[in-house]
C-alpha cells in the first residue's frame, strides 16, 4: 500500500530532482517555447515539498489535492496547470482513503490523463505529456515492478515521439523544427517519474 508518508518522501525526491533539472528543462523548453519549464517545475516542486506537513495522514486524496494546489498557486504555465489538473483528478478518486493499492495507480494516471486531455483540448498522439501518461497506463497493467515499468514507459514514449512534429502549444508554430527534438513536457514527465519512484 502507498500511503501519505510515501507521498511526502516522493515530494522530497521530486524537489531535489527539479532543483537539479532546472537548467536542462528550461533549455529544452527554450528550443521551441518560452524556456520556462524548469521554472515551472522547480517552483512547483518546492511548493509541494514545503506543504507536506499540511498533508493529512489519513487522507491520500486530500494530500494529492494539497500538491495540486501547490502547483496552481505558483506555476500557472501550461504544464503547471495541466499537472495540477491531473493531480486533482487523482485526488478525487482517492478522497477519504488513507492509502492506495499499487494496482490502482494505473487507474489514477488514466483519470489524470483524461482530465488533462479535457483541460488542454489536445489529443493523444499530439506529442505532449499526455502521451507519456498514456504509455504509463498501458505499461502498468499487470506489471511486476510497476515503478520500473512506469519509468521505462516514459523513456520509451519520449523516444518514440522524438521524430514526430509538435502539434500543440507554443511548439506548434515551430512544428518542422521540432522533429528530432524531445517534447519538453514528455522529458519533464520522465524526470518526474524517475524522481517519485526513486528509479533513476
Amino acid at each position: 500500500m502507498i500511503g501519505v508518508d510515501d507521498l511526502r518522501a516522493a515530494a522530497a525526491r521530486l524537489k531535489d530532482a527539479m532543483e537539479q533539472e532546472f537548467d536542462a528543462l528550461n533549455a529544452a523548453d527554450g528550443k521551441l517555447g518560452d524556456g520556462d519549464l524548469g521554472v515551472t517545475m522547480r517552483s512547483g516542486a518546492r511548493e509541494v515539498a514545503a506543504r507536506t506537513d499540511q498533508m493529512p495522514d489519513d487522507d491520500f486524496g486530500m494530500a494529492l489535492m494539497n500538491a495540486a494546489q501547490a502547483f496552481t498557486k505558483v506555476s500557472s504555465s501550461s504544464y503547471g496547470t495541466l499537472l495540477a489538473t491531473g493531480l486533482m483528478a487523482a485526488a478525487k478518486e482517492t478522497r477519504g482513503k488513507a492509502s492506495v493499492e499499487p494496482s490502482k495507480v494505473a487507474a489514477l494516471i488514466a483519470a489524470a490523463r483524461d482530465k488533462m486531455m479535457a483541460r488542454g483540448k489536445a489529443e493523444l498522439g499530439n506529442k505532449t505529456v499526455l502521451d507519456s501518461l498514456h504509455a504509463m497506463v498501458g505499461a502498468l497493467e499487470g506489471a511486476d515492478d510497476p515503478a520500473a515499468a512506469a519509468v521505462t514507459a516514459c523513456r520509451d514514449a519520449q523516444q518514440a515521439f522524438r521524430d514526430k512534429p509538435a502539434q500543440i502549444g507554443r511548439a506548434r508554430i515551430f512544428a518542422e523544427k521540432s522533429v528530432g527534438m524531445d517534447d519538453p513536457g514528455m522529458l519533464a514527465m520522465t524526470r518526474i517519474v524517475e524522481a517519485v519512484t526513486g528509479r533513476k
Partner: protein, 333 residues
C-alpha cells in the same frame, strides 16, 4: 532598450500598486495575492460581469480596460505569463453582480487552461460563467485553423462592445453572443521592428538586425510570416491591409472600425503616416470608417512595431462601440 525598474521580481506588483494609487477612482486590487483588479465602484446589481486576464506588459491591455462601459475585473500574471486559476477566480468573484460572468480573453494555452479551471473553482460559489476567446491574429494560423489563432489587439474592440452591452443591461446569453460576434468581426496583423525585455528574463524577447522587420510576429516575439529589410511606411501599410482584406471581406457600404496600434516604442507620428494608407485602402473598398483608433491600445512594453485591427460592424456592434466608457486609458463620451 533600457528599463526603469527595481527588483524584476516585483515589477508587476509595483506596477499594480502605482496604477491603483494613481487612479483610485477606477481601479482596486482584490484577491489574496492582490493580482486581480476590479472596478473601484462595482457595476450595478444584476449587471452581467465581464472579466479578462493574461500576462502583464501589455498596458492598457488587460488591466487598464477595467472601468464603466468596459470590464469589471481582470487577473494579472507576471510579464507575459498567465495568472493562476485562483487569481482568475478572484477576478470572476469580484466581477459577479448576480447575473453571471463572461470570461473574455485571448487565445493562449496557459490562459485558456487556467480560465477553465477558474470556472470550475467559482462553480462552487454558484457563479455562472461563459467564455469568448479572441483569436484575431491572421498571421498566426491559416483560415482553416482560425480557432488556433492568437488573440491580440482585437480584444480591445471586444472589451468595448461587450462592456457596453453589459452596461446596457443585456443578460449573460446576450452579452456572450455579442462578445462572440465582436470577436468574430476582428482581424489583426502586426509587424515588429525591435524586441522588448521581460524584466525577469533580463534579455530581449528576440533578436533582429538594425535594418530588419518581421511581418506577422506575435506580441511576445512569436515567429511571423516573413523577416526582411525594413520597408517604407506605405509599403508596410499596404501589405498589412492586403493581409487583413484577404481574410475578411470588406465590401462597398460596409461599416468598419480600424485600429492602428503601436506596440510600444513606435510613436503616434508614425501611426498617422501609416493611417493615410489604411484610410486609402478602406475608402477604396467603399467602406465607411467608424471611430478609427490610432494610438497605443495593446502593447508589449517598449517593443517597436505596429498592428492593425479591422473590426467589421453591424448596427448592433456599432452602437455598442460608440457607447460611453471610461478608464484611465480611454474615454468615450
Amino acid at each position: 532598450m533600457k528599463k526603469i525598474l527595481n527588483d524584476p521580481e516585483s515589477y508587476v506588483d509595483e506596477m499594480l500598486d502605482g496604477l491603483c494609487a494613481a487612479h483610485p477612482e477606477f481601479y482596486r486590487l482584490v484577491g489574496e495575492d492582490k493580482r486581480a483588479v476590479a472596478r473601484a465602484t462595482p457595476g450595478a446589481e444584476g449587471k452581467v460581469g465581464i472579466v479578462t486576464g493574461g500576462g502583464s506588459g501589455h498596458l492598457p491591455v488587460f488591466t487598464g480596460y477595467v472601468g464603466p462601459g468596459l470590464l469589471d475585473a481582470c487577473a494579472i500574471g507576471q510579464v507575459f505569463a498567465s495568472p493562476s486559476a485562483e487569481q482568475m477566480a478572484d477576478a470572476i468573484r469580484a466581477a459577479d453582480r448576480g447575473a453571471g460572468v463572461l470570461r473574455l480573453y485571448g487565445n493562449y494555452g496557459g490562459d485558456v487552461m487556467n480560465f477553465d479551471m477558474a470556472g470550475d473553482l467559482v462553480e462552487m460559489d454558484d457563479i455562472e460563467t461563459t467564455t469568448v476567446l479572441l483569436a484575431d491574429d491572421v498571421a498566426s494560423a491559416p483560415p482553416e485553423e482560425a480557432d488556433k489563432r492568437r488573440g491580440v489587439a482585437g480584444m480591445v474592440y471586444a472589451f468595448k462592445i461587450a462592456g457596453a452591452a453589459a452596461e446596457a443591461g443585456k443578460d449573460l446569453t446576450d452579452v456572450t453572443r455579442i462578445a462572440q460576434k465582436a470577436a468574430d468581426a476582428c482581424r489583426s496583423v502586426g509587424a515588429a521592428l525591435s524586441p522588448c525585455t521581460v524584466p525577469q528574463a533580463g534579455k530581449p524577447t528576440f533578436e533582429i538586425a538594425e535594418d530588419e522587420m518581421e511581418m506577422g510576429m506575435g506580441i511576445h516575439g512569436e515567429p511571423g510570416v516573413w523577416r526582411d529589410k525594413l520597408k517604407p511606411a506605405d509599403e508596410i501599410a499596404e501589405e498589412m491591409m492586403d493581409r487583413l482584406l484577404a481574410d475578411i471581406e470588406v465590401a462597398s457600404g460596409d461599416r468598419v472600425s480600424i485600429m492602428v496600434n503601436s506596440l510600444g516604442a513606435t510613436p503616434p507620428e508614425e501611426l498617422y503616416i501609416l493611417y493615410r494608407i489604411v484610410k486609402k485602402r478602406l475608402d477604396g473598398a467603399g467602406a465607411d470608417i467608424v471611430m478609427p483608433l490610432v494610438g497605443r491600445y495593446a502593447t508589449s512594453m517598449e517593443m517597436a512595431g505596429v498592428s492593425f485591427t479591422l473590426c467589421k460592424l453591424d448596427e448592433e456592434l456599432e452602437g455598442y462601440l460608440k457607447a460611453p466608457c471610461d478608464c484611465a486609458f480611454w474615454t468615450v463620451k
